[in-house]
């Protein structure tokens, strides 16, 4: 007798409809899944390159758009290397969504600080659009983003549009500027000072490379944010997506099913969370 549980390891067929070069090492692929995949911002998917393998990514697109998904991917491994060779019309596979995203409803009426670093802009882009779509629900919205150089800044033209929004206070920084860079130079923690919000009750959301997450979290704690109000998006070796394969465990959690978004209080006592 056959159990009627869907096969969680099967990818859904999806077609590449566009490939956008963001930076020399980062591309965004736009995919059209052949069956609907509805995700909440912060949840992740597993992207299959047929004949190569799969890897976890958090979509960078607006969750409200249901038929198309965008995934922004840095060329760092054997799957992502192949992603960078993809062309319009190629077929890939998508599994998911998996895990728990940002609890948007619990942000209602709050002041929100979003801190992004480098490739962390990708999942945060999805979050920002969700926040914009529900703009009236939140008291204040801040975005503080940093990356190494102006060339590596993702979604430049979109961010210029964000800067014009009345409901957003935005500041950017780069580690190393160039002649055209007019904004701050320095690591992202240098632009966290002076964010005009009530730290005691505010929400902080951090996403970026481990080292950036570590120092940003430290800074945000020093500013007076509560541990349970700091949302971190953890990057571990998520594979099965349903807490079975064991690869992404931290402490008593599997990042794939219990995360990837965790509040700091939940994970602070586990070792090597930033590694």
């Amino acid at each position: 007798m056959m159990y009627k549980i869907e096969n969680p390891y099967r990818p859904i067929k999806a077609e590449i409809t566009e490939v956008i070069s963001e930076t020399p090492t980062i591309k965004t692929i736009r995919v059209e899944p052949k069956e609907p995949i509805i995700f909440e911002t912060g949840q992740f998917i597993e992207l299959t390159i047929p004949g190569i393998g799969e890897a976890p990514f958090t979509p960078s697109s607006r969750p409200a758009i249901k038929d198309i998904m965008e995934i922004t991917i840095m060329n760092v491994g054997k799957v992502t290397e192949k992603v960078h060779e993809l062309k319009k019309g190629d077929i890939v596979g998508v599994r998911g969504p998996f895990g728990k995203g940002y609890p948007m409803d619990s942000f209602k009426g709050k002041e929100i600080l979003v801190v992004g670093g480098g490739c962390g802009f990708a999942p945060l882009r999805s979050l920002m659009y969700e926040l914009f779509d529900r703009s009236g629900e939140f008291k204040k919205l801040f975005f503080r983003g940093g990356c190494k150089t102006p060339q590596e800044l993702l979604y430049r033209s979109e961010i210029d549009d964000w800067a014009k929004r009345k409901d957003l206070d935005i500041k950017l920084t780069v580690d190393k500027g160039d002649s055209e860079w007019k904004e701050n130079v320095g690591v992202v923690t240098t632009i966290l000072d002076g964010v005009e919000m009530d730290y005691e009750s505010g929400i902080a959301i951090v996403c970026g490379p481990p080292i950036m997450m570590k120092f940003s979290t430290k800074k945000i704690l020093d500013m007076g944010f509560k541990e349970e109000n700091i949302y971190l998006s953890m990057e571990k070796n998520m594979s099965c997506g349903i807490g079975k394969c064991g690869h992404c465990r931290i402490g008593t959690y599997y990042v794939c099913k219990d995360g990837p978004v965790f509040t700091y209080d939940k994970i602070k006592n586990f070792s090597n969370i930033w590694d």
């Binding site: 159990y3 549980i5 096969n7 349903i242 394969c245 690869h247 402490g251 008593t252 590694d275």
Partner: protein, 341 residues
């Protein structure tokens, strides 16, 4: 309780063959291995100790295809359910852990459930011990008391039959002409045999000074920064034998066949002792050192599982002790964690 002669038990198994793929422990050298049942040959050993291979291998296959070409069905054909004979108490606990992981822990795994569903477990008392047995440490008796359909206690040419489930009950009723009511003196004799084996495990535990699981609470947290891990991992060769032979280890690797035209996703048993187990594509690795991975293995069994499922993920079967080429002894690690930290 019932009673069955070995010749009638052979008939019973013969009947089961029409609905089950029947597997029995067969002796080869000084170990038993599960083999498909054909005839009740002399090398079939119902008693003695656990088989060489862990029971999980029947339900959570070492290698299986889990997806093919975007198709939504479950790829492998369901053959007859397994009937496994001679399963020992330690392996029943191993199955409890696997059941928790694949059936209950928030999400269900259809492959495991398909394999596990409808199967029949005919367990048996241990009639001897080997020097790596330490089940009593984990509060497991060397004879099954739960989680079986039918249990056998070897009594020379006969078996005492205990029923553990409705499924077992139905089968014994269906073939009632093969069984007879057990005589009282046999039960007291069985209890004597059980006591004897129990004593033998106690002796093992005493000789190796293995602490009881009641003293395991917080040993990982207390010993987290201890130098025990570096010390114990010193000779580890990162072979992963402890993982594959362990009845509770469940980690796997999803692996795609390198053929663009025929996509097939396999899952194969994986080992948390291997360096890249938790490494991410960007290069970050939370456990770059071998001793960290050894600590993680113990953390999973003696900290994670008790916290999430209220159970220690160790059965005292001792397989990892025999399998380790570096002679890392789980009993010694536990002893050091309890007494030396």
């Amino acid at each position: 309780m019932q009673y069955i002669s070995s010749s009638n038990f052979a008939k019973f198994l013969e009947n089961l063959k029409s609905n089950y793929d029947v597997y029995v422990p067969v002796k080869k050298g000084d170990q038993c291995f599960y083999k498909k049942y054909i005839d009740f040959t002399d090398d079939i050993v119902i008693g003695e100790v656990r088989a060489f291979e862990p029971l999980k291998s029947f339900f959570f296959r070492a290698r299986e295809i889990v997806a093919e070409n975007f198709k939504s069905d479950i790829p492998h054909a369901i053959q007859k359910p397994y009937c496994i004979v001679g399963v020992k108490a330690c392996d029943l606990k191993g199955l409890q852990i696997q059941d928790y992981v694949f059936e209950n822990h928030d999400y269900q795994d259809p492959f495991y459930i398909n394999m596990r569903k409808n199967n029949l477990i005919i367990s048996a008392d241990c009639t001897s011990t080997i020097d790596t047995c330490f089940c009593l440490t984990l509060d497991i008796k060397p004879y099954p008391i739960e989680n079986f359909d039918i249990n056998l206690s070897v009594m020379g040419e006969y078996f005492i039959v205990e029923i553990g489930s409705q499924k077992g009950q139905n089968l014994v009723e269906k073939y009632s002409y093969l069984f007879e009511e057990v005589r009282k003196e046999f039960i007291s004799q069985r209890n004597e045999y059980r006591k004897k084996v129990n004593k033998s495990v106690e002796k093992n535990i005493k000789e190796n000074k293995v602490p009881h699981q009641d003293s395991f609470k917080d040993i990982i947290e207390r010993g987290y920064e201890s130098d025990i891990w570096v010390d114990e991992a010193n000779n580890c060769v990162e072979c992963g034998a402890c993982n594959v032979i362990c009845p509770t280890c469940h980690c796997f690797l999803l692996y795609d066949q390198k053929d663009k035209n025929r996509m097939a996703r396999l899952r194969i048993w994986d080992s948390c002792m291997i360096k890249d187990f938790a490494r991410v594509a960007g290069g970050a690795n939370p456990r770059p050192e071998l001793w960290m991975r050894l600590r993680n293995r113990f953390e999973k069994k003696f900290d994670f599982f008790p916290k999430v499922a209220n159970i220690y993920a160790c059965t005292g079967c001792g397989r990892c002790i025999s399998a380790c080429p570096a002679k890392i002894d789980i009993r010694k690690v536990l002893k050091r964690l309890v007494y030396d930290v």
